[in-house]
Symmetry: D2
């Protein structure tokens, strides 16, 4: 229950505020025998760090992960893996008027209405730093998926309204210029991240409520700032005809036919690799649309906790977009979802269960 | 676990195949004291029936719900409410070649890959009839939400690529003509359903993984044929600027300021009523994009269970679109999600808990 | 959540009141491919029927199970299996003063305090008939366990204070006489049921909170009238010394040593087959102590819903003991627990997961 | 899933091995607004420390808890509370032959069979140090229960076979002498802990599988070394008659009758405060029987990971009994269970839900 848990078999429980002592996660249900080190986690954490290029903030976060449990002789033991990342700077800043203002587009008012008060330091639990725990857990899921032949990779395909799918290099330059110009204006932009899953066998996902696409939708929509989720052709499928949108099935010629799983291929992939909530053996394709980051230095109307109408301008080194840092988070959430579905599928057939317990 | 369950506190467990004996649902966790009769359920079930207008199939389904438990003296008792709808026609039809073919766009191949065999009669568990159980449970959730001052209503806003948001009457006529023409061509179309939730207090939804929008995304994406989910401005938010997309907060003038919850309003609602995963007191707005129904009578390439490449044309009285029947399903899934979040929120604050147990 | 669900992977959701239309259960998460018919269920249901010998009530229940879903061509399909047993006699009886009295030893007061009102007909949801759903689901679990080489069997080992473990035939006669005499006096008795699980491999159960013995304790304590649960030597272990209570390990001579699982045996089994919450490869031994049935025709002091102190005597054909009908319920709950643990264990090791997805 | 989680609404996820970096717990679902400091936790942790009297080991554990998140301005915020206790001594000791031996009465063989290898240092996850996380979380639950007028307290009532319920002072002395003598012999003893819950309103607990006694049974049986659980008269109830075991209801004279909850009392409490799985307003009484600690220095027969029959004697400063340190663990598990049931009960009635959302 509550809200900081994810996954059924590969279960994670995250914690930590932006300006508290630490952020972290406990992974319960990780199969034993996976080689795992702090470097494996660190590598993925580096990819979510800001300050990697011009348009990003220069904050030096230096997030170093520390594994507290669940590893012995370099391998997962099957018991919970706890990981923490310490916050370097916990000094109480002067938040001034913003501390008690409900910033437009932020979670402030929701927290206040829900809990009666809130940790206003840096957004508390709704800060972007919360995603550190997602990425740390996702790094384990990704590594385990690789052992099973499944890869997960996300990239930005649209930034500040500019599509990056064609002539990417040129388009990226254009987008970067737009972002820099928005920063000068004290404004911000959104974008779209696409994530691909390769190598997943057919039949993964549960037929009714826990469809693979439904679980992915929740996973990705739970990332702050995401406002749309699409599978395969997504919103375009609603305008298409059945004869256009259906993907024809063909036999894979190179394969024999002893085992059926994986012996089919499709002529197209409008479905994004999921039919009836189950994988169909082709590439899973999911897209997440991010809204522009709400922290802007332009003046905005709002209200504070004292019930006064006020005007605020959010100063500081805020990113004019979170999208470039968010793709690794999309990857992490996708990996967590797909691995969980693979583990859940282990009990789908009696003959699988028998095979597992045969000597 | 498994896939036919939904909800944490207001939990449902559904069952039944298209051509089995019955479809149904067990609702566990419904608060005691709600007036409830079979008519309350039946009314909502009628809204999902086909054959209500020209473009729909003329199958007479006549789905009558029967409540088996959980009601005493016309009220819910707090114990599980089981409901069944009997399938009138369970005769084994001649499914011909289709029985063992993997229909493009359908769940057939996924079921086969997952379980090793499948109930081919009418799509089994992936049939549209599965939604009967969702609607029956959703009818209870909707009625309870009304008692709490919350209303849920969905409507089709785009059909066969034609927007119905402006000059609706004319647009509907146009869409209907397009649908009829597609039927003649043996083709099908998709559309978009929008659902609005009014009256929800601020602060509902859990901050991190169980954000209200994330849970809604899963709920709605779990409906067969949905390929996109949007909250508020959705996909458009990704192209917008922060200064455009942020909704300013204002005080509600007519209200005093004793209780904060509900005392704010927003100048716009790009966010669709959800910020940081929690309701912000304004209208919740969610959109589901449906793909065209995959059952078309045009010829398609596929493969059968024997591993032979074949051509099929799916005959029978199939709807050229499911969208007009699906809006009640979107409503049901939204109601189930919102009620569950409201119940989960009961333990958010110690002072609420104290109040509940005070004499 | 709520209370009428059990199991994580092999999940059941039960419903129905003693005098409502029907009792039943939905099993979600049953692996596909198990041969299953209504006869398989009926056989186990017969074992819980009253009226089988002198000391039991002569009520003719004739509970016939009907499977509504989840079976195709005689096999489980992997989708939910719904089962119902119709109540033959739903006529509203004259419950007289008892309807609104809080019967001592019964759940009446709890229901009233919890829900504000209650279904007083025959105990509603707390009636012994509720166990029909447990037994129906347990029958499936037992059959699947047999396919995996695991057997579950319970028997009464103490009745009305008389131990049946030695010279059983004579002791049973003695106990039967005592029960008949108690019936004449309008009194009742309890007893103890022991359940044995054979063939379970070592390592089943999760190390910390979901220990196999902890899950079994909950499963068995959830049966109405159970007031104690013991594993292995149980309460006697508390009085024993470490040197007496520890079970020494030995090698099984007949076995080679390629696979370790199952290659050890123990010189004694004080532990009841569970160490550290995991099975150790020897027989699982669990005991449930039942209190005397609270429905007695002797006069008792109590209070009614109007807040009046009253005296009641519960007339009718009540069993002076439920123990002889309860052993099949203990068996069912044990089977459900053990199967769930076996399925959960499928994801314990990466090499198992790899093996499952290898072609 | 997996095994290191407990609770539905007040959910905890624990981690850490005996000789790893740290032990800890994440509490997700703690209501906002509870005053909480590290001292509150530390106080309860001190009660589980060894070395408090003669018969206990002199190890100086000095476990200091550190709260990492979820507290702001001295109060719980509603977001996850992470707590860690650092292990002071992580140096790899020389475990000698014991490292790879399956110690009788321990979890070693289960871990090995389940995961294929194990963290042999100090018992890893099955060490008594695992209970630190339970106690830390339980301290929060206990404090919140006190705010709701509910107290939880456990004590040892039998030690090394000697009852402490009468002339306690004398009996304790006797038991202590027996324990000291067992230490000299290299042997160990068990005992029984009783836990009382006062102030719980009637109606708490869910009627069927999640009965309050069933949940308590699981909670307490999940503590290492517990082999029996009894509610109220427990095992004695099985030998008693209905007329003796039923508790008569009476009106509380001092109370008016406006609210029914809490207006009844019972003439006796054989039931231990729970009827039909729900609290009845009287004192909850639960007993846990502990086996003798399996670490003894007497010689024992066993087998090692190499498959060799060996003899071992477990040297080191092991407690000859864990019972005196375990009562605080029983208290913690009881508090976690009762609080969770109280929170779950918040959604039992529509009128409660309405009341919560009324302005």
């Amino acid at each position: 229950m509550a809200g900081s848990q994810f996954g059924k078999i590969f279960h994670i429980s995250t914690f930590g505020e932006s300006h508290g002592k630490a952020l972290g996660v406990v992974v319960d249900g990780c199969p034993a025998g996976l080689s795992l080190s702090e470097e494996d986690i660190q590598e993925m954490l580096e990819r979510r760090r800001p300050g990697k290029n011009l348009k990003m903030t220069q904050r030096k976060e230096g997030d170093k992960v520390e594994i507290l449990s669940g590893i012995f002789d370099g391998k997962t033991t099957g018991t919970p893996i706890a990981m923490v990342v310490w916050n370097e700077d916990q000094r109480s800043k002067d938040y001034g008027g913003i501390a008690h203002a409900f910033r437009p587009g932020h979670a402030d008012y929701g927290f206040f209405a829900k809990y009666g008060f809130r940790d206003y330091r840096g957004g508390g639990r709704s800060s972007g730093r919360e995603t550190i725990a997602r990425v740390a857990a996702g790094a384990i899921a990704k590594k385990m998926l690789l052992e099973l032949g499944v890869s997960v990779r996300a990239k930005v395909i649209e930034l500040a309204g500019i599509s990056l799918t064609e002539s990417r290099e040129k388009a990226e330059l254009l987008a970067e210029q737009k972002i820099l110009s928005l920063r000068e204006q004290g404004d911000s932009a959104g974008g779209v991240v696409e994530c691909l899953v390769e190598g997943l066998p057919a039949g993964i996902g549960e037929p009714v409520f826990d469809k693979l696409d439904a679980s992915l939708a929740k996973a990705v929509m739970s990332i702050g700032a995401v406002k749309s989720v699409e599978i395969g052709d997504g919103i375009e499928a609603s305008k298409s005809l059945g004869s256009e949108n259906n993907d024809a099935f063909f036999l894979k010629q190179e394969q024999g036919f002893d085992s059926f799983m994986g012996s089919l291929q499709k002529g197209s992939n409008h479905a994004g690799g999921i039919l009836g909530g189950m994988s169909d053996g082709s590439t899973i394709r999911i897209r997440a649309g991010f809204k522009p980051t709400p922290s802007i230095s332009k003046e905005q109307q709002t209200v504070n906790e004292a019930g006064e109408a006020i005007t605020i301008a959010i100063k500081g080194r805020h990113d004019p977009t979170v999208v470039e840092r968010a793709n690794v988070v999309v990857e992490a959430m996708t990996a967590l979802t797909v691995l969980d579905a693979l583990l859940e599928n282990l009990s789908a057939r009696l003959d699988y269960v028998k095979k597992a317990y045969q000597k």
